[in-house]
């Protein structure tokens, strides 16, 4: 039986459709999870997709972090459940203290939707094992508050422990040390501002491409789960 990948929908989530599709495209069984339902329905991994949970009117991800499903996700993540937070999902992970730092208003203040090149910095996480370190990948960003910020000590720690998983080649938003994504110490929880679920098909991925550089995020976790 294939692995079950759960995708949480909060009110205001936008990219749940895309994350479910990504799970399906790589051959996992996609499972829709609902913010009010604390059960994870026996999924083997969880994606917190992009969007504007609860409208993000207070602070991005600040309210979603308190939803019933997150209680379970936080506990399970501490036990090793693979969790990927994309964009708003990354913000939720930071608000949940599963990952350090915060995402703040972009340096240019505007919402930016752009294909950006990332360099993969770590393949020792649940979500990046299918990449080679140093590989440059084209993945879209689309956010207004995607600037990664943390104190110097935390940044040093992240770098020292190899927990920066991807960096921007041309920093689009002023993120500290060009950081696009990070992992927790165990490597099962990953937060990423760019959207790999928008780079999984030739037909709809970045143009002129490469269009499918986001796929290994999903194949990585699937392989790990199937082999486990």
């Amino acid at each position: 039986m294939s692995a079950r990948i759960g995708v949480i929908t909060f009110p205001g989530t936008q990219d749940d459709t895309d994350a479910l599709r990504a799970a399906r495209v790589v051959g996992a069984e996609p499972v829709a999870l609902w913010h009010r339902d604390p059960s994870l329905h026996q999924v083997d991994a969880v994606i917190l997709p992009g969007g504007f949970s609860y409208g993000d009117y207070l602070r991005c991800g600040a309210i979603a972090r308190f939803s019933p499903v997150m209680e379970t996700v936080i506990a399970a993540a501490r036990e090793g459940l693979p969790v990927l937070g994309i964009c708003n999902g990354f913000q939720v992970l930071c608000e949940s203290h599963l990952l350090p730092g915060a995402l703040i208003r972009n340096a240019g203040t505007l919402f930016i939707n752009r294909d950006v090149t990332l360099r993969v910095e770590s393949n020792s996480t649940a979500w990046t094992s299918d990449y080679e370190i140093g590989r440059e990948i084209l993945i879209p960003i689309k956010n207004g508050e995607g600037k990664f910020a943390a104190d110097e000590r935390t940044l040093d720690e992240l770098e020292g422990e190899g927990r920066v998983i991807a960096r921007y080649l041309n920093n689009p938003n002023g993120s500290a040390r060009d950081i696009a994504g990070i992992a927790n110490a165990a490597g099962n929880v990953v937060g990423l501002m760019p959207h790999p679920e928008h780079a999984i098909e030739e037909l709809t991925g970045p143009y002129p491409g490469p269009a499918t550089d986001g796929l290994p995020f999903f194949t990585s976790v699937l392989k790990q789960l199937v082999n486990a």
Binding site: P11, G12, Q14, T17, D18, L110, N113, K142, T204
Partner: protein
């Protein structure tokens, strides 16, 4: 609410006090209209009734000045088998194959966007998306055609960034990809920008919802946001007539949007539809509760009893006439059978959406509303929704039309570039001009990817969406409009807008099916504006008939003017097309070195209303390009067949800026240069290079074909009687026009992309 402040104006009181003076003029109700209201009711209207008539009989809601002209879209409609719902409903619905239908419509939010750019534009998106939702469809994309004053005008720097942020802020938060539109600048829009918004949705053919309240005993449910004081225009007049202080005032007359609420409302409605729990549904847009209750009742069994004091409020001091006129966003009204109510409320609760039964469908033929037990409204809903005033406004051709058309942009009047060096400079100047320059600065603020079905978006000739991951069935959409052409000749200008959108859809490989229109004009009380409107409608209806693409719905926006100065008449036309297999789509980029460039269509010396005359000479005069609709149809079939049969590698429609603009865009997009030969054995034109490069003749496209397909493609053109000429080859890293000039792609790109960041960054 303080006790002393407000005395509700009941039906009983209205009947007893016929002499009470009512501020109808301040509400925009004319003397004869007021007299007619009294005649209909057999008494004076209550203040709430007057509020309802004033909004329902407004130009915006009743189409009283435009109706007589809009009729042509029905009378001259081509006979087609794919139109499931035509004009008159919230949006038209088109059968696109399999078991799927698509609904789409364009609307304006011009005036609010000038007053308050962010909220005006945001709620413009919100409003049109609710129209689509109301048809029973999942909204799947938006497009935003925009017009602003000059790019370097100070006020444009107030309006444009706010409008763009508003569209992005609202649309992105709804999870709807923004896949097309336009950004155009012209001094005529300085005091009156145009912010049009088109939305499209998809549904099963069998699941179309209609706005009608059927079945006596069925409940009327108001759900979504609470009703607040925003968006109330004239209601304050009524309120101040009866009392003044003692309540929150200074309410913005521009609505304030909450995209999160709307996103939740969309998902909530879709779940309710999937469970088949409504017999009728209507969104609350212009005229709010007045419009929703009267339209539902008028289209259904005919009667409705409403207990208005049950409507959940954001501001407890609101009085009935304000509640009836409020345009608070993110509200819907459903008609639900009593047995479906529990399940309906369960779904609303799941999404944290407030839902309240406020009324019941009746067969009395009357819309009755009570306020804490007293009857405040008792009307025949059809008199509000269907029997509004109809005006045959006088119109006549402006005296200046002849001299405008006589002022041709010929070489004697406007100096034309001659040498290669002059042409080169003109190309760089044109491509950097705001209307032709790269719009990335704007487009990056919109999410075009969400939902993962965007096959083509900005920068392509039309946006394209995949509808089915199994079959790859998809739709394409383009919006176009040219105010300068329409000013020169409203009949032809409207047709040219249709032809361009039609051509753009075909250029991506989709078959154009149906039309939505947003008719932006000045004041209908000006007979010259009314003539422009009448001519544009006539032209559009004639062209739709000839092209076989019916108008399925749209919007009229009048009073777009500053003082006595009207905007250029600007019909914006949206064309929907269908494509069997989106993987067959044609892009506009030149992607492959060595491929042959062909120009399809005929180029004439046509510069009336052209971008060149506008940019280089600030000139507007003469006639717009000639239009041959049969030729447009043939060209579209060539482009569609070329896509389907795999002959085409790229196609790009020729319009603003002419051939050289199209080639430059395709080069820059694909990252390859082109060698262009204006005169050759297969292209023995006698046009001078300037005309060949910059003319805006209609009915043309430039295509790139693999060498192996050239003969098959040109044979197809010849068979259809459409001129085709080899004009070059995809090659190198420069735009090279033989014997004239060379521009390295880097230099071209710098000119093209530098303008917007310099202006707005």
């Amino acid at each position: 609410m303080t006790e002393n402040a407000y005395q509700v104006d009941t039906v009983e009181r209205a009947a007893a006090t016929p002499e009470t003076e009512q501020p109808y003029a301040a509400l925009g109700v004319k003397d004869d209209e007021y007299a007619r209201i009294r005649e209909i009711l057999g008494r004076r209207p209550t203040a709430p009734e007057l509020a309802m008539y004033s909004v329902m009989w407004s130009e915006h809601c009743s189409y009283k000045s435009s109706k007589v002209h809009l009729r042509q879209f029905g009378e001259k409609a081509p006979s087609v088998d794919f139109l499931l719902v035509g004009p008159g409903e919230n949006a038209g619905v088109v059968d696109v194959g399999e078991d799927l239908a698509v609904t789409f419509k364009i609307e304006s939010h011009n005036h609010p966007s000038y007053v308050e750019p962010y909220q005006g534009a945001a709620t413009g998106v919100g409003g049109i998306v609710r129209d689509i939702l109301t048809m029973g469809a999942r909204p799947i994309a938006v497009l935003d055609p925009l017009r602003f004053g000059p790019a370097d005008a100070p006020d444009t720097h107030r309006v444009l960034p706010g409008v763009v942020r508003g569209i992005g802020g609202y649309g992105n938060s709804l999870g709807l990809p923004n896949i097309g539109g336009e950004v155009v600048f012209d001094a005529c829009y300085s005091g009156n920008p145009l912010v049009n918004a088109l939305s499209i949705g998809v549904l099963k053919k069998s699941e179309i919802k209609l706005a009608r309240a059927d079945g006596p005993g069925n409940r009327v449910v108001l759900f979504g946001a609470r009703t607040g004081g925003d968006g109330i225009g004239g209601a304050s007049v009524l309120a101040s007539a009866t009392f003044d202080e003692d309540k929150p005032s200074k309410r913005p007359s521009v609505q304030v949007g909450d995209p999160f609420m709307e996103k939740v409302l969309i998902e909530c409605c879709l779940e309710i539809y999937a469970a088949d729990l409504v017999t009728g549904i209507q969104d609350l847009g212009a005229a709010g509760l007045s419009c929703a209750t009267t339209e539902l009742a008028a289209a259904g069994t005919g009667g409705m009893d409403v207990q208005l004091d049950l409507a959940p409020l954001r501001d407890a001091t609101l009085v009935p006439e304000e509640i009836l006129m409020s345009e608070s966003q993110e509200r819907m009204m459903a008609v639900v059978t009593p047995e479906n109510l529990p399940r309906f409320f369960e779904i609303c609760e799941k999404w944290d959406v407030i839902a309240t039964v406020i009324g019941t469908v009746t067969d009395t033929g009357r819309l009755r509303m009570t306020w804490h037990g007293e009857t405040i409204v008792d009307v025949d809903p059809r008199t509000l929704a269907l029997q509004g005033p109809v005006y045959e406004r006088p119109y006549h051709r402006p005296q200046w039309q002849d001299s405008l058309q006589a002022d041709e942009p010929d070489s004697a009047r406007l100096e034309r570039p001659k040498s290669g060096e002059q042409l080169r400079e003109t190309v760089l100047r044109m491509i950097a001009s705001p209307n032709l320059a790269d719009k990335t600065w704007v487009l990056e603020q919109y999410d075009h990817r969400v939902r993962g079905n965007t096959v083509l978006a900005h920068g392509e000739d039309s946006g394209m969406l995949r509808l089915s991951e199994q079959s790859n069935l998809g739709v394409a959409l383009s919006t176009d409009g040219n105010g300068r052409y329409t000013k020169l000749d409203p009949y032809t200008g409207a047709q040219l807008a249709l032809a361009e959108a039609y051509r753009n859809v075909a250029a991506t490989g989709a078959k154009p099916l149906a039309v939505t229109d947003c008719l932006n004009f000045g004041s209908p009380e000006d007979p010259e504006v009314m003539w422009q409107f009448a001519e544009a409608c006539r032209g559009l209806a004639d062209a739709c008939l000839e092209l076989g693409t019916p108008v399925t719905g749209g919007n009229v926006s009048f009073y777009n003017q500053t003082g006595a100065e009207a905007i250029h008449p600007t019909p914006i036309i949206g064309v929907l097309g269908v494509i069997d297999d989106v993987s067959r789509r044609t892009r506009s980029a030149f992607e492959t070195e060595g491929e042959i460039l062909l120009l399809v269509g005929e180029t004439r010396d046509e510069f009336g209303g052209s971008e060149w005359a506008h940019v280089v000479h600030g000139h507007l005069g003469g006639l717009p390009p000639k239009l041959d609709l049969e030729r447009e149809r043939q060209l579209a079939e060539i482009l569609i067949a070329g896509s389907r049969d795999g002959m085409l590698s790229a196609a790009h429609d020729l319009s603003d800026g002419g051939l050289v603009q199209a080639i430059a865009e395709s080069c820059l997009r694909g990252g390859h240069g082109a060698r262009v030969v204006l005169h050759s054995d297969t292209n023995p034109g006698e046009l001078d290079p300037f005309v060949a490069l910059f003319s805006e003749s209609a009915g043309r496209a430039v295509v790139a074909v693999p060498r192996s397909e050239e003969l098959r493609f040109t044979d197809m053109c010849k068979f259809r009687g459409v001129p085709v000429a080899r004009i070059g080859v995809v090659d190198g890293d420069a735009l090279d026009v033989q014997d004239q000039f060379t521009i390295p792609l880097g230099e071209l790109r710098e000119a093209w992309t530098g303008t917007f960041p310099a202006l707005f960054g």
